[in-house]
Symmetry: C5
Subunit: 355 residues, 5 copies
């Protein structure tokens, strides 16, 4: 139901920094998990509410707070009180119509990006906003709280201590989350690619209205994908160039890697966009080809039978004197003449390549 | 009536700085309100005319003069005399065909932007020009004086002292006005989005000329919206970079926020533009699909009945000797043959996927 | 007659700096007027020829020489001798296919721009080249000498001493001329806008070939307008940034004003361009809509009458035994059946929304 | 014969600096001319082969070697030996698929550009590559050796000593050659312009397939022209900015002039490109307009005669009792009714604007 | 089988630096060859596996290791151990969906580019990824291991000592490989060019659905080619500007040469793209032209025979009194009238240019 979705325009007139949830309304509970880790330590906890502030100040280990569900104003307000985030940051977290962006507040970085998943049920794309607040030794991540996320492999690596992540700081964790999100773009992209190929096969040979509907739907998907991913290029590029103590130089090569991934995703999106534009043009031409074929059939039929019918009509006239009416062989001769005329016309059409 | 609208071209030949109203002609009175405030003080007044200059020099509080109606040359001239604004500024205020812009005159900043509202009566967009003159402790805002404005929530916050606005300077007030205006863009944008979706649903299945008219109208709206909003990006970006004592650095983060809003609005406009371009192409293909379907019906009908009619015509000829005329079972056999021929053709068309 | 127009290609092979007139050939006489003025002095003179050089060296007042007609090589050569202008400048003045440009020769600035007028007789655009040479206290302007110009209001202000122009230098006069020219663009733009609106109204409802011709003509106009005006942006922008003693800093705010005007004109041209592109697409769809409507009528007629004609043909066959031929009520029953069949088909088409 | 043209791909696998001719194969002899000149001296010589190196080291005069025909590897190798040019330069000279470019080798500049001529025989464009090597007091120019060149007027000026060219250095000579080449672009451009206008006139009124073929051919020409001329902008711009002692500052104003010419040529090409894109769209609409007109005729004919034929068929049925068959006035009444029906339908179509 | 191709999305969830092969699955063995050379020395060896590390540290000669086949994780891991390459580099080598790129790791440069070959069997393009690791005196190249490569001429030059390559360092070898790859682009480009020309010839005269399929296929090829080649421009440009001791300044002029080649290839691709876009539009117009021609035939036939059939039907009616039925000359007069009517109509259509 579209009425269930809160829009940006519902917020018109409120003062800046007002905490209003923009997005799909939900009554689900908010899930919060806190993970503390260092190379030789790991602790995971699920908490129900932010009654008291989770301490982030222990410089000995990295703390990752993951919050699923951003529709409760109270949670966000509490967070703001605990750690002193700027009201505009809290406002942006709750509004799920942000474009991907990066903001440097000195003590912490604020990053917004989009999690994209292909929805198998309706063949569309699910877009979910993820906000990250990265401090010296903590990371707070906010999800809209839709079912499932893409961070499980990373959590598993944290728990088991595999890979580099436990040895490194909060900035590497932030990188890990962004990498997981961007890796998942490929899933969506590949699915779209398969759909495009499926449509392409039927494009010239069998252009039905369903094909058109599919092309249109795919172009819409690509338009929205583009809107969600393009600005990310600037975000990751900005992180690379950022002169912030929060992002260690050693993490920079990893940023370069995901920057590269983003470029590749954007390349593919642009390629699909081009291909779909061409496909729409080809579709139109195919349809007109079909129309041409249909009209040729009609014209051939009419061109053969209209003269025949006329001649039959002539011999059906009630004139008293029509030559041949009385002749015994009239009918066979007439039928033969008609047959020859028909064959002659068919040959003519053959030569004109209409058949 | 288009004749009632004064155009830029009516002004050709006048010297620069000439005060001529460009826009819808009106005989409405000019409304002026003066608000003085500081953290612990608020005074609001409605004045009829600018007979004597309102003092702006009291550095103790912020003065906001809001003028609705810019069609009277006298008002503007008086203002120019009172506060020494540059003639070109006054000229620009009266000409409602400005593009959004920012000009720095040292003592004051001159900002032009557009207020956009969706008109429910005719389903179009109302665009109204708002000019702001921001001095050290005063702000003068000019509206065209069309019914209603978008500043009421802000006025209420000033009156009640809620929010930050009473504690801050004229620059924050200017930000507040711009924020109100830009927030209202979302209303217009969302309405256009709804209309686009409504059109989209009927696009492939039921493409009527009305659909085409709607797409055309929406593209016009988007073109005009774009023209009004694009330059705003530069204006707000320019304000952010501005090295002016008139804009405190603490207000800068708020400017970043509305810059972000503008980017989002522009993103959405571009997305709609893309979608409408695709929709026009899809519409054309849909129409041709329909044409194809119509032509198939015609061809099927003609292909079945033309041969039948010819054969009936043959047996209607007045030849003396036509085999079978005398035979008792001729008619049923004829009818059966015709029926079989028809069924055969229908099957053929079925296999060719024409039916 | 196209043969009457001299082209750039007629000049191929001549050495650089050759004075050859490129443009409409004419035998009209060259009109020259010399105006000297300062705040308290004004003198105007019409001269026939440049037999002796007009003195420009008197630093007490500003001298404006306006030359209408650039087709006489002798005049330009004399000018070159008198004041030592670069041969390439003289060559450019005589060639009316220049793009708007600005060149700084130290002692003088050379500016080329285009005067555009809407021609009421043929509904097209007249484009005339205006060249300006601006020295320390003089301005020489060159027009092609077509009937009428746009400088009369400015001349009047010089004569009567109204406005600022008599108090200021040659740079302000140059600004004044450019302002007059750019102001006149609005006239042409507004006329095109009216034509576009007129076409737009008939676009979807009544798309006739005349509409197509009109759209095509308007797009051509816009293409040429664009070519004449786009480079002006750079010219005025270049003047603003110019570090030349010939252009006083106080004139700079006026340049900003016409820069703004140029931006607005370009915005409008781009908007019209977009609109016309959309209109062409809409036109094509409208035409196909019409075609669809026509084909539906044909198909309905054929679908109703082809079966009827066949059935009538059946009862017109000369078989000896056709059931019902002898029955007294055959004809009324037949007519009734035909009528019912027709009504049934009409209802079917109604339901398919073909009628 | 396409097989006669050597392609870049024939060269695949050879080491860099390999001298292989890419272009139309020819067995013509190579023409070489050597011109020595200074203000008071002129000597011209045609030489057959480069058996011994032509001395270029005499700083007293400027030497211009013009070589027509670049298909002989020996000539180029000899040149390389004589003057020590880089192998890549020699390779580039022989490969006629270069894009216009400028390379600075310190001792000499290497410039590639395209000579374009309109071919009257086939209405196409001939593109010939010209390479220039400009040293301190010499210029070597290479042409493909196609019939005729555009340098004759310049040679004449050198011989007669008219114009500035004899008084200036090799850089001015290089400018002169480039100016000649660019001047000739106008000839090609003007011819295309005429063809475009010729097509435009028949576009809406009489769109035949020939028109489409013409538009397509012109767009191809424009695409190739663009490819040959666009990069020249950078080349000339690069020459202007070049900090090389080989190009005197006094020649710089002349470079500005041809830079201007290039801009104008590019402007015109872009304008033509726009116009042809519009024309293709207009053509499609015109074709559909015609189709519409044809279909209206068909529909009118069918709508009038199908009912008439049916009614005639009804009275041709062999029912025993059909009212009116026996009545004496049946036939005239029938004919009158048919005529009235036809007139009524024609009026209806008239009102629908189909006729 | 598309299932046989591993995709990027199969890798989702793995930690960064995971070695997973992305590309066509194969069970072929990996081929490795090691070439050591200096000006007076050459040694070539084929090795089966990287059991022990090949020594690269001998600064006396240049070592080139060429590895064909990147699907075995073990090989890459061994390499990483031997020479300490960054895990992300190894990951990128195994993933064949990279965009061309250049990365500077200080000790070595990592370059990715695409080898493109025209596949004669299916008329498509084969794209194979080539990765280069360039160290001080070694070069390691990785190919996907598809049949054949483009380096044989270079190997031959190394073996025989022809050309410059044996006298220069590893950087020149890297240049040589890149040059070979880029040279081969021309083969693919030229083949596409031939196909485009073949399609173009039949475009206006004989537009069959096959033509459309061909255009579509070519545009797809161009889109993919573009995606593979565009980023190369930046890569080569980046190498030119690179401040790395690994690339000698003397090699820089050769880089400039292949940069130039890349520009030319891109120019050609853009030209083909433009041409194909135009061709698609022209195709649509051609199809509609044909439709027009078909409809004219139908309309001519219908317009001639419908009235004739009606008139014959009239004289076939069973009215008792129809004038002329009894007259002896009725039939010849009727036939004459019909013939004249037909001729008249044909003349009318001729004048309307329908025939």
């Amino acid at each position: 139901m579209p009425g269930m979705r809160k829009k940006r325009s519902d917020k018109t007139g409120l003062p800046p920094g007002s905490l209003v949830h923009i997005g799909d309304e939900t009554s689900r509970a908010v899930n919060m998990s806190v993970i503390d880790y260092r190379e030789d330590y790991f602790h995971e906890e699920t908490i129900d509410s932010l009654e008291k502030c989770v301490s982030l100040k222990n410089p000995d280990f990295v703390t990752w707070i993951n919050i699923e569900g951003i529709h409760q104003t109270a949670t966000l307000e509490k967070l703001g009180q605990c750690y002193g985030f700027h009201p505009l940051v809290l406002e942006d977290i709750m509004a799920t119509d942000q474009r991907p962006k990066l903001e440097d507040f000195g003590d912490y970085l604020f990053i917004v990006l989009k999690m994209i998943r292909y929805n198998d049920r309706n063949g569309g794309l699910d877009i979910e906003q993820v906000s990250l607040i990265l401090g010296r030794n903590y990371l707070i991540s906010f999800q809209e709280g839709k079912e499932g996320d893409v961070f499980n492999p990373l959590r598993e690596r944290l728990r088991t201590g595999k890979g580099r992540v436990r040895q490194m700081g909060a900035d590497y964790l932030a990188y890990g989350l962004m990498d997981s999100i961007i890796d998942n773009y490929y899933l969506a992209i590949d699915r779209l690619g398969e759909e495009i190929e499926a449509v392409e096969e039927r494009l010239v040979n069998n252009p039905v209205p369903e094909t058109l509907r599919k092309i249109h739907k795919l172009r819409r998907d690509i338009i929205f994908l583009r809107k969600s991913i393009w600005p990310l290029r600037e975000v990751i590029g900005g992180l690379e160039r950022l002169e912030s103590p929060l992002f260690a130089k050693t993490t920079s090569i990893y940023l370069k890697d995901i920057y590269d991934h983003i470029l590749r995703v954007i390349d593919t999106i642009e390629t699909y966009r081009d291909m779909l534009a061409v496909m729409l043009d080809v579709y139109l031409s195919s349809i007109n080809n079909r129309l041409n074929a249909v009209m040729k059939v009609l014209t051939v039929i009419a061109t053969i039978f209209m003269p025949l019918t006329f001649i039959a009509g002539v011999y059906g006239m009630n004139f008293k004197y029509i030559p041949g009416l009385e002749w015994e062989w009239s009918f066979p001769v007439f039928m033969l003449a008609m047959t020859l005329l028909t064959i002659g016309m068919l040959l003519l059409f053959k030569r004109k390549k209409w058949l």
